[in-house]
């Protein structure tokens, strides 16, 4: 760990005033401290934002929810409004990490988790995400846990968050404040694909702070399911995860949402698949068709072809479970 300066501002403006290319915001620190200890990130300045007034969950005029960036993952997962109206989000959060980590980790920080690619995590190996231009040993190396969708020649890493997969399916919006003012980013646009600049995980500028996540009015509180398939039952990142949500009229699908984790540099979603499901029967045939369509462009690496088969089965399973929830 490199020595750093530490500040704890009490207002957003004061926090933003301290930003710079070598400064990092820190809330729970559940990922950043690891990165610093492993010498993967060497910030010169830590801006502790836990003193900022961003820890509330409130209802919006549109009937949705505004979640402060500092609400802990645990508090969010167990929040009555989330449990009742967005069970998909609650389930996804509880599928991640461990109770200790969820107590510390913040909503905003969860969006900024960095990949668990073995090579990214070992400072002595090349990695385009860590050191642009140094190469990607994962492409031809150990890539069992890597991407099957949206990867590039320079990076095959996957985004590690569970919560973000649910937020993608729920079409959340990210509220951001920077020196230049405030803006909102659609969740689908927040994280990016690696392309030739995998060092950038998302659209956030270094002088911007996530202040809140906004959820639209609940649409899928009756029929949703988060399925996470991993190497052990807890405390492991997803090999494949599926956020599946359905709005049903009897057995017919009024609208559907589908996002995958563990497959790409960002939570993977294709609205065309969801449109295809509209009006179809909530049957395993429909769900398999959705899986086929979503995975049509999947490309395996040497060790992760199983992920395509697994993702297919997981999508059908998650939709089947979603359709069955709330049905007595």
């Amino acid at each position: 760990m490199t020595p750093f300066q530490y500040s704890k501002p009490t207002s957003i403006d004061a926090a933003l005033a301290l930003t710079g290319p070598q400064a990092r915001f820190i809330a729970g620190g559940t990922n950043l401290l690891d990165l610093m200890k492993e010498n993967l990130d060497q910030p010169e300045h830590l801006i502790d934002i836990t003193g900022l007034p961003l820890d509330q969950v409130s209802q919006t005029e549109a009937g949705g929810l505004l979640i402060g960036a500092l609400v802990s993952n645990a508090d969010l997962a167990w929040h009555p409004l989330v449990e009742q109206s967005y069970p998909l989000l609650s389930q996804a959060i509880l599928a991640g990490a461990s109770p200790q980590l969820r107590n510390m980790a913040s909503t905003g920080g969860n969006l900024l988790q960095r990949t668990r690619c073995y090579y990214f995590y070992d400072a002595s190996t090349p990695c385009n995400k860590r050191e642009p231009g140094s190469g990607c040993p994962a492409r031809d190396g150990l890539n069992r846990i890597h991407a099957i969708l949206g990867a590039s020649g320079s990076c095959v890493a996957v985004h590690p968050s569970d919560m973000c997969v649910a937020l993608a399916a729920l079409e959340a919006r990210v509220h951001v404040q920077g020196k230049a003012g405030v803006r909102q980013i659609d969740f689908a646009d927040f994280h990016r694909l690696p392309g030739d600049s995998p060092q950038r995980d998302n659209q956030l500028a270094y002088d911007e702070l996530i202040t809140a996540i906004e959820l639209p009015a609940p649409q899928f509180s009756q029929h949703s399911h988060y399925l996470k398939v991993r190497d052990r039952e807890s405390y492991a990142f997803a090999l494949i995860s599926v956020a599946a949500a359905l709005e049903l009229d009897g057995d017919n699908i009024v609208s559907a949402r589908l996002a995958l984790g563990g497959v790409a540099h960002k939570p993977w979603r294709n609205p065309a698949v969801e449109q295809m499901l509209q009006g179809r029967a909530a049957s395993s045939e429909s769900f398999a068709a959705a899986a086929d369509m979503l995975l049509a462009d999947a490309k395996p690496l040497a060790h992760n072809a199983f992920k395509i088969k697994l993702a297919h089965a997981a999508i059908v399973r998650a939709f089947t479970e979603a359709a069955a929830t709330g049905v007595a």
């Binding site: 020595p3 073995y118 070992d122 031809d140 398939v229 190497d231 199983f306």
Partner: protein, 729 residues
């Protein structure tokens, strides 16, 4: 009668429990001392080559950085291989830290940064720049050249090939197991306290303080009187502390060079830079007659080793001793690679070899259409075929029957895929296990003071297994005292000589010495008492107990102060295995029954339940022993389903070297584990009748899990661990 109820056989709580849960127990990296310096190890990033240049300038410029030690500025080290050997060495040239410019493996320590505090040392370590001259490396077992292991294998018996060719029923299967790392909770660490005059007080994470003392003596040419190595508490080791690990000589180098106290703690990533369980490929060929009698066994294993040492363990021997078979051939080969030397890890060899043997036995049972338990009963061996000696005891048949009964095995439908619940196929599998019941020479001292406090000591360790407690129980019973008045000391190289703590032989070796020392001391006490009080001459010895500073004989009490010299009474013994053992084979055995639940679409394998039936002689402390078996079962399941150190052969480097990506099971992966100890009287193994339980719990478990997965799915997987990709593949 004045008898105390014996505490051996009772589930006594850990005597060190309160110290551990209140934080009073200090581990190697927790000993405070004034002006302590902290070392941080800089590790190689290439697998093979030479160090061309080490640039320490940026590190040394930081205020508070005291030194950077490397091969060009280190203190003088021994020059002969023998001087680096230790009590658990492999054949060859032991690794010499910071010795020269050669890089032998990725992760090799190349420099030690010493600074005023740990954070600074770590930071400065990242500023050390090393230039390499890189050579081509090979880290893949399958790509290397094998040579016969320098192991004394049992000679072939009968004629394997002829019997195999002639047999009706045959199995020929190849299994592979991955590299696994010990990863005890406590990382390896050494605190070296530099005393005036150059005496070194060393607190080390080790399974043998005298092994470390002797190593430092020969590597640094320091007189033994100037060295004292302690390991009062060890936070798990599993074999990783059997050899002195490199943090110890590095810390001593810095202490000698700087004449200061120094602590070196390895990072979790560096816990992957020394010994480990080697990758193996094992071919099993079994043949049986139509009634299921084994006709031929061939077990051929290939394991990896380093280029500098040939690490051998008992992988294949078990196949010549667990079952009755007249035609047996065993073969064991090693492939030297650009990696560190493997190291004993819980049930070394057996945990691996029994995967091959017990999976193959399951395959044979399927070929025969025979129940797997019945096949094993049918081939039960009364004697060890490798040695031609009868077993001192072998209650394995009871393990089969009592384990099966507890599990409900009788209800098993042999047909694979015959049980299903929701999305999950359910399978029941079993396997047997075996481990040697060894005894080593050990010594112990027992000392009783006039206040009636008994202190017993031996230079063994307690790696979390319960040695403090069990030795206290043995001493209390042998002395005729309550355990509350007994203190057992260990983990100090100045105490009476003890072997390394490993191989499940501590109770047998040190326990026997403790018992003997206490018996001798009790004899001395009674003799002294009888000379003081002639009326005691006729009093039966077994009716005398020691309590609250008094000798109780019938209704009379005699103050120890009147009997003992002011300095107290002492007895020291050196205890060797009894000659009676020579005519017998001695071993522990187990039968493990496992239920798994397999979701074929998602590729997940969940544990349903486990029954482990153990035959290990007399159990001194059922609570500690059960914990040992529980830990063994958990690790066995981990070997079956989770654990694998991944190596990138292009880089020659372990890549999942952290506890997020190196998967061991978590609580959520576990269900009920039912442990039962079958009755196994043994008058031969040692006076305690106890065989030790540290290893046996893990042996056979991975095979039982894999056999259960086969029963669930009808799919035979021979590549371990059975991860999702393999289940789906």
């Amino acid at each position: 009668m004045n008898t105390l109820k014996p505490v051996s056989g009772q589930p006594m709580d850990r005597v060190d429990g309160p110290a551990k849960v209140t934080g009073q127990a200090r581990y190697a990296a927790e000993y405070p001392t004034t002006d302590l310096l902290h070392g941080s190890v800089v590790s190689s990033t290439i697998a093979r080559g030479r160090v061309r240049h080490i640039d320490c300038e940026a590190a040394l410029r930081l205020p508070g950085v005291v030194a950077v030690l490397h091969h060009q500025n280190r203190p003088k080290l021994a020059g002969e291989d023998e001087q680096y050997e230790d009590a658990d060495s492999a054949d060859g040239s032991p690794f010499r830290p910071l010795y020269n410019d050669r890089v032998l493996y990725s992760g090799q320590p190349l420099a030690l940064v010493v600074a005023d505090n740990l954070e600074l040392a770590r930071h400065a370590g990242t500023l050390v720049r090393i230039e390499y001259e890189t050579d081509a490396h090979q880290t893949d077992l399958l790509a290397g050249q094998a040579h016969p292991a320098p192991a004394e294998l049992p000679k072939p018996r009968g004629d394997f090939q002829q019997a195999y060719d002639a047999a009706k029923i045959r199995v020929d299967a190849t299994y592979s197991t991955p590299i696994e790392h010990h990863n005890p909770m406590e990382p390896h660490a050494s605190t070296v306290i530099y005393h005036p005059g150059g005496n070194l007080e060393v607190h080390d994470k080790t399974q043998g303080t005298q092994n470390c003392r002797d190593y430092l003596h020969s590597v640094f040419g320091l007189p033994k009187e100037k060295l004292r190595v302690f390991a009062a508490y060890v936070g798990g080791a599993f074999g990783s502390g059997l050899r002195p690990q490199y943090q110890l000589p590095l810390a001593v180098m810095a202490a000698l060079q700087l004449q200061r106290s120094v602590r070196v703690t390895l990072t979790r990533q560096q816990m992957f830079t020394f010994g480990y369980r080697p990758r193996t490929v094992q071919q099993l060929r079994l043949a049986a007659d139509a009634q299921g009698k084994l006709q031929a066994i061939h077990h051929a294993a290939t394991g990896q080793t380093s280029r500098f040492e040939d690490f051998t363990e008992h992988v294949v021997e078990w196949s010549g001793m667990l079952y009755q078979c007249d035609n047996v051939a065993l073969d064991y080969r090693l492939v030297p690679l650009d990696v560190y030397t493997p190291l004993d890890m819980r049930a070394p060899g057996a945990a691996l070899g029994l995967i091959g043997l017990e999976c193959a036995m399951d395959e044979l049972a399927v070929e025969l259409g025979m129940d797997p338990v019945e096949l094993r009963r049918h081939n039960f061996a009364e004697s060890n075929g490798n040695e031609g000696k009868p077993y001192s005891s072998k209650a394995l048949l009871d393990c089969y029957s009592q384990g099966a009964e507890r599990f409900g095995w009788a209800a098993r439908n042999p047909q694979p895929r015959s049980m299903r619940e929701g999305h999950e196929l359910i399978g029941w599998g079993m396997a047997g296990g075996v481990w040697e019941a060894m005894q080593m020479k050990a010594s112990a001292r027992a000392r009783l003071d006039a206040h009636g406090q008994l202190v017993v000591s031996s230079a063994t360790t307690d790696i979390g297994t319960g040695t403090y407690t069990v030795m206290t129980q043995i001493a209390a019973d042998a002395m005729g005292m309550a355990p509350g008045e007994v203190t057992f000391l260990l983990g100090d190289s100045a105490l009476p000589t003890a072997p390394l703590q490993g191989g499940s032989f501590t109770v047998s070796s040190v326990g026997s010495a403790v018992r003997q020392a206490c018996e001798v001391l009790r004899g001395k006490l009674l003799m002294a008492a009888r000379s003081c009080y002639p009326e005691l001459a006729g009093h039966p010895a077994e009716d005398m107990v020691i309590s609250e500073g008094e000798l109780h004989a019938g209704r009379r009490r005699y103050p120890l102060g009147e009997i003992l010299p002011r300095s107290g009474l002492e007895a020291k013994v050196v205890c060797e295995p009894d000659a009676r053992r020579d005519g017998y084979a001695t071993a522990t055995h187990s039968a493990v029954f496992v239920e798994v639940r397999v979701d074929e679409e998602l590729g997940t394998v969940r544990l349903g339940r486990v029954v482990s039936a153990i035959a290990a002689g007399r159990v001194i402390n059922p609570k500690m022993a059960r914990s040992q078996i529980l830990g063994g079962v958990v690790w066995g399941v981990s070997m079956a389903l989770h654990e694998e150190t991944l190596i990138d052969h292009e880089l020659g480097r372990y890549m999942n070297h952290n506890l997020a990506e190196y998967h061991i099971p978590v609580q959520a992966d576990f269900a009920d584990i039912d442990v039962l100890f079958v009755d196994e009287p043994d008058e031969i193994v040692n006076a305690l009748g106890s065989k030790g339980v540290g290893e046996i719990g893990i042996v056979g478990v991975p095979a039982a899990v894999a056999n259960a997965v086969y029963h669930a799915t009808g799919k035979r997987m021979r590549e371990f661990p059975l991860t999702i990709d393999r289940v789906l593949g």
